[in-house]
Symmetry: C2
Subunit: 217 residues, 2 copies
Amino acid sequence: MRQPAGRSARRSGGERKPREERWAELIEVATQVFYEKGYDGASLQDIADRLGMLKGSLYYYIQSKEDLLFDVISAVHKEGLAVVRSRSEVPGGPLERLESVIRGHVEHTCRNLVPTAVFLHELSALPVERRKEILGSEHAYQGVFRDLVEQGQAAGLVRADLDPRLAALSILGSTNWVYRWFRPGGTFTPEQIGAEMAEMAIRGIATEETLQDRASR
Amino acid sequence: MRQPAGRSARRSGGERKPREERWAELIEVATQVFYEKGYDGASLQDIADRLGMLKGSLYYYIQSKEDLLFDVISAVHKEGLAVVRSRSEVPGGPLERLESVIRGHVEHTCRNLVPTAVFLHELSALPVERRKEILGSEHAYQGVFRDLVEQGQAAGLVRADLDPRLAALSILGSTNWVYRWFRPGGTFTPEQIGAEMAEMAIRGIATEETLQDRASR
DNA sequence: CTGTGACTGTCGACCGTTTGGTAGGCTTTT
DNA sequence: AAAAGCCTACCAAACGGTCGACAGTCACAG
């Protein structure tokens, strides 16, 4: 437990804040700590320390450590999915929509690096039921990508011999991997990454004719 | 600790095996347990239980829990890197080599799902120094892919406006993501996945002329 | 063929620390 | 005076790790 100084240190920091404000801080700090140490490697002590409160006090806000991870993850997931879903309904053909989805997804990942990393990396620390509660029984993200690929095939824009599930997983792989190497202020901007990845993805699945049409525009 | 029955149960399983054999078992079991529970989530007790021995006995083989993870990870990594490196020197042009690398990488991942997953997922549980000891100071995998892309550009086969690092990361992303969804006996075979991913990747980075040449072959 | 001693692999009990979690009381705000 | 926010003090369990004891195995001497 190791309280800094059980004896002499009376109510040291102990700032009192309204519930909502503290809750926001809690989520933020927990996200950061889970990011740095992983869910199992992080202790409630770590989180409490950084908030300037005692471990026991956390239970005024949460019911369990697991709940905390759940809240962190489900928040990012909801947000990310909203971005992707809205982009998938943008005006234009399937390929324009796919491009928009990829760019949006990548940019959102880069701008929310820490929460996204926790989502992608620590989801497996949740028990299956709670995982499903977040993802839906069918993987939602995957579905958006796959649908767009299928629409592209229906319109003759995407190679017909391609398995749409595989294509979706491939694209999702390259975009989801971004959280492993992107660093803000690094060589690339989120927009650059999004744009180039979208371009590669679309060229990867398009028919030759589609590519020529796009080139001559 | 909870020994099954400290009193009555004399040497229960306690099979005695030669060092090498046990070591192999240990690595295998540890890999599996790390896969299922994650490094921090797994306890030496879990591993010992599955080996039919006591926790303390593990220290006849290892110096620390961390060493165990290190050994598990560095083994897969060495193997995987060897596959990729050898494939990168296959006869043919840069694109043929890239295709071979991607196929080899994906197939190796699928056929060594569990160790690969531990490598990709738990590497971050190692302290930085030991991580570098495995990866080399420059990320080796990434280098192989990037080099091939650059060679492709030099030969005019790959779009010149593409950043080779970004292209490498994109390809590596889609292939490394495979460990998250592939299941043996599922819809796709490793060969299928490797082939389709290679095709998508190459089309994604190639110039229009290259694609037409390939199509007319 | 037997006796002996060194070695090897495992046990069993233990240590100090940390963990997630609980309960009741104190203080500040409303 | 009630409610909200946080602290103190505690718990049982689990963790990684240590260490002396000891049984089974094997090589070799007699």
